[in-house]
């Protein structure tokens, strides 16, 4: 994934059975002064990113710009081919008649926007066909929820954090090293 792991770091992984519990636990663990590395889940949990304090994604801006590129491409393409390079009167329309290009403009806007946005998503999340996933627990793509805590970035000691995790509802707490 995108997060870099230069040296081996040691993680404490709390495994939860329930999405509501993990959402509540995030707040409790944070309140107890523990820095959470990330939470992993088999499906999106509404409000989890806000609870973790992740900033809102700005992919929308990228999507808008890609869409705009598509609009401009379509305008340029139709303007260049039909007006400048080879003016042609078809069906009694002017060589450049804006209404008939609206379908092309729309389609290219959508195409550029969708492909650009998905491309940005893949790149910004560090995804790719050769990427080895950073799995804290294989069950998090099935039915479990994992809260990973980077011990190197926390002042509290391992046992204390383990207690906090257990108290907030973790079914088990494992140690994972990368």
């Amino acid at each position: 994934m995108a997060e870099s792991h230069g040296s081996a770091s040691k993680f404490l992984v709390g495994i939860f059975d329930d999405d509501d519990v993990v959402l509540k636990a995030v707040k409790e663990v944070k309140d107890a002064g523990v820095r959470i590395h990330e939470v992993y889940s088999p499906f999106p949990i509404h409000g989890l990113d806000v609870a973790l304090g992740h900033p809102r994604t700005r992919i929308g801006i990228a999507a808008f710009l890609f869409g705009l590129t598509g609009t401009l491409t379509a305008l340029t393409l139709t303007m260049y081919t039909e007006k400048l390079d080879w003016p042609m009167v078809v069906g009694g329309k002017d060589s450049y008649s804006f209404p008939v290009y609206i379908p092309i403009i729309f389609e290219l806007t959508v195409l550029f926007c969708a492909l650009g946005m998905v491309g940005t998503f893949i790149v910004s999340n560090g995804l790719g066909p050769t990427v080895k996933p950073l799995m804290f627990d294989l069950r998090t793509t099935d039915n479990k929820f994992a809260m990973a805590i980077d011990l190197g970035k926390n002042k509290l000691d391992e046992t204390k954090i383990e207690q906090i995790l257990k108290a907030s509802g973790a079914a088990e707490v494992n140690v994972k090293q990368f």
């Binding site: 409000g47 069906g91 209404p99 008939v100």
Partner: protein, 436 residues
Amino acid sequence: MASVHAIPSLDEQYEFTAESKRRLIIGIVAGVALVGLGAYLLASGAGSHEAHHGAAHAAAGHEHAGAHHEYKWTTRLWANVWVNAVYFTGVSVVGMFFLSYNYLAQAGWSSAFKRIPEAMPAFLPVTGLIMLAVFFIAGHDLFHWTHEGLYDPNSPEFDPIINGKKGFLNKPFYLIRMVAYFGLWYGLWRVLRNLSLQEDLYGGTEYYNKSIKFGTIFLVVFGVTSSTSAWDFVMSIDTHWFSTMFGWYTLASWHVTGLAVMTLTVVTLKEQGYLKWVNQSHLHDLGKFMFAFSIFWTYVWFAQFMLIYYANLPEETIYYRERFSGYGEKYLVTFWVNLFLNFAFPFLVLMTRDAKRTTIFLKIAAWGIIVGHYFDFYNNIMPGTVGEHGGFGPIEFGMILIFACGFIWSLSTQLTKANLVPKNHPMLEEALHHDI
């Protein structure tokens, strides 16, 4: 998100204050004064337009040729009443339309403010009676097809095309249809409204299930009558012209206007301290509705325009010619205002997520849509009724004011008649926790 929702006291009564009543009366009085002023100006200045007559006629084609005997200034007055009546009929009936499809789709979120669409159709009898009256008083001036000579082969006015439409465009059938529209729409609304009020009193899911049934019946009725009423109220004015899209086009216009009125009402009530339980997610969804259906209206507008423009058949393009370059380009400005306010404006204002959650942006967009779609109807009705005598002056402004104040009065009165929380609605709990 598990943010804490303020649990509303399950009773909230809207108060139609003396202050708001006073303001609305002032508005109506001002409107009447403006209409009077405009009428005086028109009456005293009548005939001064004759100079433009010839040129505009050439552009307008033969649609009005022969039919244009004496133009009376009152035609513009009645045309104005008609524009507003059609517009507010749409806004009112969309309240019922919204309720019905929300029932059918089992939507939960909208129950938080369902009293507002529920209050809108109460204005229908008013517009219905006004339209009937206008048809009796001035139908002859507004609707070219009401001229007897068109159907008489011996008359110089005889028009074989319009004669062919006699089976549909004749006064008795027209009146029957008009009464049927308003009767059905209003009647079904009364049923739904009563079910909703009884649900408040007695609770239980029986009323909910019945509401789904009657909502569905309304949708079936409205599926047909929305198109036919659009042909009757608007398309038949340009008697020769036809477009299969016209019914859905008018429905799209009515619908988005109704949504904008609903949103504006919700936001205004919130600002007055009501509807505390309507949260940002509800507003966001209302914003999305306005955004999406503005685009839908544009889609329908464009599809109709595009096909007529592309095929370039004279009997069809005349419609846009009249609005674009006809009558000395009198309607060109409103043509563009229509497109700008109904597409570009809401599209840009409501594009971001934050805008849809901010009341000020919602209000700006709603106002844009409300004003823009007035011009949609203005542009569809005026060229065929008053042509080169049209314009935008005190008479137009005053008439809008009268109708708008009347509508707000009716809406406010209805709102006082029921608890603002539909407290026994089975979806209410979901709506109160609506979070997106």
